[in-house]
């Protein structure tokens, strides 16, 4: 028996430790520890409800936009205007969120995950004239390789040509995601931490110059997704096919759905959305979403026991460091008492399971190229593939929404803050199902609870001792080289964890 401890896990958002027990080269136990608590839910109490939208974005600088959306939906429902958001505002919200999520997926694959597979030092052999690759070659020849070394050594399998191509795309992707953020900013002022999304709609009024500028930046993103991102995922997958069997996980998937396609239905769990609401499992049969089945356990988290097992509407955040069996600042959300994974894989699989024709075609043709059955989706490479398809699905939908905007028509509906009220805001952040819940008393926030994608995925054991989704995905994995545990970091990064979000 031996231990592998990785602290910090890098190329993710935030402060994560992974602690494993390894026996005969196979992981027997895994513990995921969120290492930073800020107490944002405590900070929110007593404030003007409208400020939740500003403050919750600061939960995460990588996915602020999704918190802005979840907060706005939450406040819309608490203010009783859920079914009254003007169509223009709903579209602008979708465009802001869509552009943000697409650039986030690109950032994840190239800048957070790719260095686990791509050997950038192969660029020393580059003899061509591409200015990006030449600058990397010069950089390497100067001999100071931070931040690209140190790194795990050994399992880099791509040919020099593919490594060079992938490195060129790594650099190109920096530009592409920056353009994605410009699209967000077009309608939302600035990003990270943008100001455009508010309860009642959005602050901005769409104008033709913004629409056309957004359109042609969208085309740049689509081109990159079609001609670099998806082909690169497939190319890496073909050289690392064993990673279609590594990191399988709990096989229960949950999606809140996202990108409202109608605004009248105040019930977010059955409103018509681009990504569908629901759950699915290994059989890929769809099941509906019942948010009353969500609870958060804290027996293995650093919070007072009395707050365990509650629905977020009754949730509490009472820190108690160092007690009993606890080992993380992350709570353990469960659905009907069971372990569920969220993320691009979940929303793609749920939408696929419901038979959405566009999604079915996307998934089926990718699987046909890989000559693989849908079961391979439950894996490290399956998550990367689902993320790339999620990017394409969103990007390809945005053009239609954009052209439905009506300059001059309203983007905001007025409201009054109620004396008392409750609300729920559900959406899909880049990393998966994101929920905000509010209780208002005397026109102030009495309680605010966030259950965030990585809260689900990186959760510690629940009150019944069941490990969280990421822990389950690591347990049972064979580690080839204990001093270079590629397998563990590849599994962890396939979830695209965000720890600032998970704990908040």
């Amino acid at each position: 028996m031996g231990k592998i401890v990785i602290d910090p896990v890098t190329r993710i958002e935030g402060h994560l430790k992974i602690d494993t027990v390894v026996d005969n080269g196979v992981v027997k136990e895994a513990r995921s520890t969120g290492n930073l608590f800020r107490g944002i839910e405590l900070i929110l109490r007593g404030r003007d409800p409208r400020d939740a939208q500003v403050i919750t974005q600061r939960i995460c600088g990588v996915c602020p936009q999704s918190h802005g959306i979840a907060a706005a939906l939450n406040l819309d429902s608490a203010f009783g205007i859920s079914g009254k958001i003007p169509p223009n505002a709903q579209i602008v919200r979708n465009l802001i969120q869509g552009a943000h999520v697409v650039q986030d997926h690109i950032l994840h694959f190239y800048h957070l995950a790719a260095l686990d597979y791509v050997d950038i030092t192969d660029v020393t052999k580059y003899e061509g004239k591409d200015s990006d690759l030449s600058s990397v070659r010069d950089f390497i020849s100067r001999g100071e390789l931070g931040p690209f070394v140190p790194r795990y050594e050994g399992d880099y399998r791509l040919s020099p040509e593919v490594n060079q191509q992938a490195t060129a795309h790594y650099l190109k992707a920096l530009e592409i995601r920056r353009i994605g953020h410009e699209m967000v900013s077009t309608f939302s002022g600035k990003i990270p931490h943008s100001v455009g999304i508010i309860p009642g709609g959005v602050t901005t009024t769409p104008t033709i110059d913004k629409i056309i500028s957004f359109l042609w930046k969208l085309r740049i993103l689509q081109d990159f997704i079609n001609n670099a991102y998806i082909p690169d995922v497939l190319a890496i997958a073909s050289v690392y096919p064993d990673y279609f069997e590594v990191g399988v996980g709990c096989k229960n998937l949950l999606s809140y759905g996202a990108y409202d396609l109608e605004g009248e239905n105040p019930d977010l769990t059955c409103r018509k959305r681009l990504f569908k609401q629901g759950t699915t499992s290994a059989d890929l049969k769809p099941d509906g979403l019942d948010i009353t089945k969500i609870t958060e356990d804290v027996r293995h988290s650093w919070y007072q026991d009395s707050s365990s097992g509650r629905h977020p509407t009754q949730g509490e955040t009472k820190p108690e460091y160092g007690r009993g069996e606890a080992y993380s600042w992350i709570k353990s959300p469960r659905y009907g008492g069971k372990v569920y994974e969220v993320g691009p894989l979940a929303r793609v699989a749920v939408t696929y399971a419901y038979g959405d024709p566009v999604m079915k075609n996307l998934v089926d043709s990718a699987l046909a190229q890989l000559k693989a059955p849908p079961s391979v989706l439950f894996s490290v490479m399956g998550r990367h593939l689902a993320r790339a398809l999620s990017a394409k699905f969103i990007a390809d939908s945005m053009e239609k929404w954009l052209l439905e905007l009506k300059p001059g028509e309203p983007t905001f509906v007025e409201y009054t803050i109620p004396e008392e009220g409750t609300g729920a805001g559900l959406t899909e952040a880049a990393r998966g199902a994101l929920g905000h819940w509010i209780e208002i008393k005397e026109k102030k926030i009495a309680n605010y609870q966030c259950v965030v994608p990585t809260t689900w995925n990186a959760s510690p054991r629940d009150d019944n001792g069941n490990p969280g989704p990421m822990e389950q995905a690591i347990i049972g994995t064979r580690i080839k080289d204990k001093s270079n545990p590629f397998e563990i970091v590849r599994i962890v990064r396939s979830f695209d964890p965000c720890i600032a979000c998970a704990v908040h």
């Binding site: 190329r11 410009e182 002022g189």
Partner: protein
């Protein structure tokens, strides 16, 4: 011979928003900043940054600790985030030593002592920001507050903003490479470079004419000055209206949203509620309520 400037970028009680904002740098691009010689003859050698670096776990921590030893007095320490200081709990840890988590405050103390200079990036790091907001559940402090209490006198430059504009960071670094550390006259009382934080948003706001004429937006989407919808531009120092965000695409007031005062020490508690009009500021003599600036003292 290229001058390699070692940089350690430490994230403490933060959200990574400052890092993502830096990735948005338009010119130089982030590739120019990390790979190329950002100023001819000088290369930023980013040795530790958890969001970007290839390595993980112990080898990553080693490079951080070794840089502090080998490059004592010569490396730049960038801190993104406030410092949790409460004694009864480990609210923030980075890596382990002897199987025990190393607290963020201990990392900051060790690295700050032997740095050439500290760049406190973002409002959390500069002034405490969001994690320090009431009731400050984790006892967060700004870098300056924390180091003053330890009598650590390494020079600090604050680059606030939630997040800061990439130009503010890149411009400050370029200035240090070309001209050395900022002189006292280059910074305001809050240790912000005057080059970027020298004027109020209000002074350069394109909606200023509406303010002077008393034309105020009553609801979102209206034309007019956003003052009555909660704009904090009248007390906020930053060059956003001239610089614009995301490669010159837009900015908060450009999107019809009030300035939230995110570059200020008052952010968030004293500029909230964000959608309520500033209190105790009478019109039209708003200038009398500007925060005191160095030359006015």
């Amino acid at each position: 011979m290229v001058n390699e400037i070692p940089v350690i970028w430490l994230q403490t009680s933060a959200c990574t928003g400052c890092t993502i904002s830096l990735l948005n740098s338009a010119s130089p691009t982030i590739r120019n900043i990390l790979i190329d010689q950002v100023i001819p003859g000088a290369h930023i050698n980013l040795r530790f940054h958890v969001t970007i670096m290839a390595g993980a776990g112990e080898p990553a921590i080693e490079i951080m600790e070794n840089t502090a030893k080998e490059k004592t007095g010569n490396y730049i320490l960038v801190i993104e985030g406030a410092i949790p200081t409460t004694k009864d709990a480990v609210y923030g840890a980075i890596g382990e030593r002897g199987g025990k988590p190393v607290e963020m405050k201990d990392r900051v103390e060790d690295l700050a002592r032997s740095a050439l200079a500290i760049l406190a990036v973002g409002t959390c790091s500069s002034f405490g920001g969001i994690p320090s907001a009431a009731p400050n559940p984790t006892g967060c402090q700004s870098v300056k507050q924390f180091l003053d209490a330890k009598d650590i006198t390494t020079p600090i430059v604050n680059i606030p903003g939630c997040p800061p504009h990439p130009d503010w960071f890149v411009g400050t670094v370029a200035s240090i490479i070309l001209n050395g550390l900022p002189k006292a006259d280059d910074l305001d009382d809050n240790l912000r470079p005057l080059a970027f934080y020298g004027h109020l948003i209000h002074e350069n706001c394109p909606r200023r004419a509406y303010f002077d004429e008393g034309k105020f937006a009553k609801k979102f989407g209206d034309e007019g000055c956003l003052y009555e919808l909660g704009c904090k531009g009248a007390i906020t120092y930053a060059d956003c209206p001239l610089r614009l965000w995301n490669g010159g695409t837009n900015w908060c007031i450009g999107a019809g949203a009030p300035c939230s005062g995110c570059t200020q020490p008052e952010f968030p508690d004293l500029v909230a509620p964000f959608y309520e009009k500033l209190v105790d500021v009478e019109l039209p003599t708003i200038g009398a309520y500007w925060l005191p600036r160095k030359e006015e003292k």
